[in-house]
């Protein structure tokens, strides 16, 4: 099983994702430079966090024109697993692979801290090792993670079960008090309708080893691997 980590100029969680896949998950992994134009041979793609193109203009807005993106889109259209983490999520939004857009955090400040997420579905390629209504603890680190979409889109996200993760309290309470950035409906991560693309603001790669204070993120990567083993192939 081979993962690809797409590297844009300004990506800075690329090495972190690579490390987790290789050293923690014991899977094959390679970097994919943004100027490449094929993703042949990969089973899953990671669009890592960071500040592609300095986050200039809008987060992800310039990266989405990178030469690699048509292949990423094609790979996704064919049902390939694509996970966008933080800046990767923002790029997926700009590229139209996921609906909606990101606004600045309501506090107008960059926020780096651990938050709690409620798992809304456990039958997806990204959450099958987790349990519905379970709460996981995971770090966020972003200045623009305030998810926005229009009412119809929000309704369809809800109706179709595309909101995989929502911000919540330690006991799963989903009130505005536990919304770190102003996201609509406490949205922390969404998938596309087909379920093979996930965008999430929190960083699972930062909590996949005990030495970093927690392992909840491990299960997201493990879900992907499990899915590829069981279903994907």
């Amino acid at each position: 099983m081979k993962f690809g980590v797409v590297v844009f100029p300004g990506s800075n969680c690329d090495a972190d994702c690579y490390h987790v896949v290789k050293e923690v998950m014991n899977q094959q992994v390679e970097y994919i430079w943004h100027k490449e134009n094929t993703v042949d041979g990969f089973d899953a793609l990671i669009l890592p966090g960071g500040f592609s193109y300095g986050d200039y203009l809008r987060t992800g807005s310039i990266a989405r024109f990178s030469p690699i993106m048509p292949s990423v889109i094609d790979f996704a259209d064919r049902g390939g697993l694509v996970i966008g983490i933080c800046n990767g999520f923002q790029i997926l939004l700009e590229a139209g692979l996921l609906p909606g857009a990101m606004l600045r955090n309501s506090s107008l400040k960059f926020i780096c801290k651990s938050v709690y997420l409620k798992i809304n579905r456990a039958d997806t390629p990204f959450t099958n090792r987790l349990k519905v209504d379970h709460v996981i603890r995971i770090p966020i680190a972003h200045g623009e993670g305030n998810y926005f979409c229009d009412e119809n889109t929000l309704q369809s996200l809800k109706d179709n079960g595309q909101i995989l993760f929502s911000y919540c309290g330690a006991d799963g309470e989903e009130s505005p008090e536990f919304n770190p950035n102003g996201s609509l409906a406490n949205i922390a991560g969404i998938s596309n309708l087909k379920g093979n693309i996930l965008g999430m603001m929190p960083h699972p790669e930062r909590c996949s080893e005990e030495i970093l204070g927690g392992r909840d993120g491990f299960y997201i990567f493990d879900s992907m691997i499990n899915w590829l083993k069981e279903v994907g192939k």
């Binding site: 987790v20 500040f51 300095g54 960059f110 780096c112 770090p139």
Partner: protein, 733 residues
């Protein structure tokens, strides 16, 4: 552009004469500018160089001491740490966001210039009173600037300190530290150039940014500082990120003979550095320098401090491969000159020679002033201040007040704006212990980092205060279980031309040197920032210490939070009663006086040995040193962090209780441990000759401090946590 006189450029009359003598003629405007920036305090260290010679700089662990872009220490397994701290005080006073951001950019360049991958940033900040609107603006601008720049680079900002005191009202301090990791054989040096080597400039195009920034940094802040505003530099962290990746690729492929960042004094100083090997000279053609603005004259090009630029001296025949790598990263590299063998710094504009000065005159030739310090009158007066005349405040109320003081309160408002986890090495994050701890992937060891300086203590007694800064840094590392290795420092002082200030410098450096010697932590890099004063006076002398250390086994790392109900709480070190210079006197009595607590370096050394040994042995569940706020604040912080109360009974022996509770005397730490380990810890303490006292136990929901059964303090942990946790946020709303 209006031409400046030599005086406006910061040169003294005698220095101007000296230049004429060196050249054998009047300098032209460009040459004058070159001398002025190279002979500024910022580049030439003309007032501080003689004092800096006191620092111990050698040790078996030292690979590179002061003199290169950053210091380097050996951490075993063929690896080394590269680190340095630097000030960006004046630019931040003018434009806090950009000033702080470019400060981070500058220090990060110093680290990857040495071939190291930057792995962590820290910062040490000082502002005036947090009730002041302008101070709030400065504080929030600086924090946002540091955050945005470092976050974009993907370098975790893992630690630092912030203090607020009226002494910094008009002159904030912004010191940024960066730490890099390198394989020993890949360390790169600045001065490896051979005659005929081309000089390549890469990165941002040159604009009129920050001309005379180095001079400006070597002056007091005044009304006219505001007028120098056009010199504000804007940072481009994205460009810097590309430079990091590209330059580290060059090093991996061994393509460069020398590499030098462009910092203060821009092209002028980096070129002079790159060619400063004995006898070397350099020619540079300004018409080859890619520019952002039109109509720039050679003077502006040579002195511009545009950010995010690097100077590369390629290995012979490697220009092509170097250009390929830069191209991959979307960067342009341009040859702008070459190394010669005539010892001259020659600037051309096309065919026309527009300036020529001997290189040695710029570097070694920089004038040095050995001044005489005079003990200021305040020193004895404050030292002899009698604290016994003050009334004693209610212990519980005093503790609550201290926890709400921005100097002691949680700094989470600051560090949540910094990405402190990127790179997935942060094993102890800000706020959880006295030092940050990073893992080194693939190894069992860990790296510990901290910055420290209590400016008030240094002000009251520069010698003692200087020792205290070094000791606190080392102790903070020991509290997480790390053995201190070496230090970097940033000397923030007022004007050295004032003999009282010069005395502060002299004494502080003496104290720091002595402590560094005894603790075996040599000084491997640093930075000097003088003239930190306004019409209202100078700042507290603030020699910030950045300390790095190594944990043998990262799995034994120790944090400050109390762990389990019933654990014993133990004080290591003597019960102390000196209140001089304490935050308690400041917060509860409005007084910043008193004799600074005595410090015994041998005792400190033994405490550090003790802490490291018992933590390595896995005997300690929590550890937190005693510093700001004294014993009471230390207990409270461990309690808040652990979300559990404690009950201690102190033996006050009839001594004023505020003295025992709030003394900031050094060489002490509070640990908690499982009862079964007490004997072993006692044993170890006896061996190190460190006094040990059992204070009480962890548990409950309140912080309870008794004097032989009489309750002095009873605070609900929840309430105290709120006070402590939200104090800064409340100010900033």
């Amino acid at each position: 552009m209006k031409e400046m006189s030599y005086k406006e450029m910061g040169l003294l009359e005698q220095e101007y004469e000296q230049i004429i003598e060196i050249l054998g003629r009047q300098p032209n405007y460009l040459e004058l500018g070159i001398f002025a920036v190279m002979w500024s305090e910022h580049c030439g260290y003309k007032n501080s160089r003689p004092l800096l010679r006191n620092f111990p700089t050698e040790g078996p662990q030292v690979i590179q001491g002061p003199g290169e872009n950053a210091g380097v220490v050996d951490i075993g397994d063929g690896q080394a740490l590269v680190f340095k701290i630097e000030s960006h005080n004046h630019p931040s006073a003018i434009e806090p966001y950009q000033g702080a951001a470019t400060g981070v950019g500058g220090i990060v360049r110093d680290i990857f210039t040495m071939g190291a991958r930057p792995i962590a940033s820290l910062n040490s900040l000082r502002f005036g009173n947090l009730d002041d609107e302008r101070v709030k603006q400065l504080f929030s601008g600086v924090v946002a600037g540091i955050g945005d720049y470092g976050n974009c680079l993907g370098i975790p900002t893992v630690g630092g300190e912030v203090y607020f005191n009226p002494a910094y009202q008009g002159n904030p301090l912004v010191n940024a530290m960066c730490v890099g990791l390198v394989n020993k054989e890949e360390i790169a040096y600045a001065t490896a150039s051979e005659t005929g080597s081309p000089l390549m400039l890469v990165g941002a195009r040159t604009g009129r940014d920050g001309i005379h920034g180095a001079t400006f940094a070597s002056e007091e802040l005044s009304e006219t500082s505001q007028e120098k505003r056009p010199s504000v530099q804007v940072g481009d962290p994205f460009m810097e990120k590309l430079l990091i990746e590209a330059c580290l690729e060059l090093i991996k492929e061994d393509l460069v003979a020398g590499m030098q960042d462009l910092g203060a004094a821009g092209l002028t100083s980096s070129i002079a550095e790159a060619a400063s090997k004995k006898g070397r000279g350099v020619i540079v053609d300004v018409s080859w320098v890619p520019r952002r603005e039109t109509g720039m004259i050679p003077y502006e090009i040579m002195l511009s401090e545009s950010q995010e630029r690097m100077l590369i001296v390629p290995r012979e025949g490697q220009e092509g491969r170097i250009s390929e790598i830069f191209d991959k990263w979307g960067l342009d590299a341009t040859v702008i000159g070459e190394v010669t063998d005539d010892g001259m710094f020659k600037v051309f504009e096309g065919d026309v020679l527009v300036g020529a000065v001997p290189i040695e005159a710029l570097t070694e030739g920089c004038p040095v002033y050995v001044r005489e310090g005079i003990e200021p009158p305040y020193y004895r007066e404050y030292r002899d201040f009698n604290i016994d005349d003050l009334p004693e405040c209610d212990a519980g109320e005093a503790l609550s007040k201290l926890l709400a003081s921005p100097n002691i309160a949680s700094k989470k408002w600051v560090y949540t704006q910094y990405d402190h986890q990127v790179m997935t090495n942060s094993s102890i994050v800000p706020g959880d212990a006295d030092a940050a701890v990073l893992r080194v992937k693939g190894h069992q060891k860990g790296v510990a980092l901290a910055t420290d300086c209590n400016g008030r203590m240094v002000y009251l007694d520069p010698y003692q205060g200087g020792m205290m800064a070094v000791c606190e840094g080392a102790r903070n590392l020991a509290c997480v279980g790390a053995r201190p290795l070496a230090l970097t420092n940033c000397l923030n002082f007022g004007s050295p031309e004032n003999p009282h200030i010069y005395w502060q410098m002299q004494e502080a450096i003496k104290g720091m040197s002595k402590a560094a010697k005894v603790l075996g932590t040599p000084v491997v890099s640093g930075n000097v920032s003088l003239y930190n004063e306004t019409a209202d006076g100078a700042i507290f002398p603030t020699p910030v210490v950045g300390m790095v250390g190594i944990l043998k086994d990262i799995d034994q790392r120790c944090q400050m939070a109390f762990q389990d109900e019933g654990d014993l709480i133990v004080l290591l070190g003597r019960p102390r009663e000196e209140l001089g210079g304490s935050e308690y006197l400041f917060v509860c009595h409005g007084i910043e006086k008193g004799a600074v607590p005595e410090l015994d370096l041998a005792e400190e050394h033994n405490l550090i040995e003790l802490l490291v040994s018992i933590i390595e042995a896995g005997l300690v569940k929590s550890c937190h040193d005693i510093s700001d706020g004294g014993l009471a604040a230390t207990l409270a912080e461990s309690s808040i962090k652990g979300s559990t109360g404690f009950n201690v009974d102190l033996d006050f022996k009839g001594i004023r209780r505020d003295k025992i509770l709030f003394s900031e005397a050094p060489s002490r730490a509070v640990i908690s441990l499982d009862e079964k380990d007490l004997a072993a810890v006692k044993n170890a303490s006896v061996q190190q000759g460190i006094e040990i006292s059992l204070l009480g136990r962890v548990g409950g929901t309140s912080m309870i401090i008794n004097d032989q059964g009489i309750e002095l303090v009873n605070l609900a942990v929840q309430d105290a946590a709120k006070t402590w946790g939200e104090a800064i946020e409340c100010h900033m709303k």
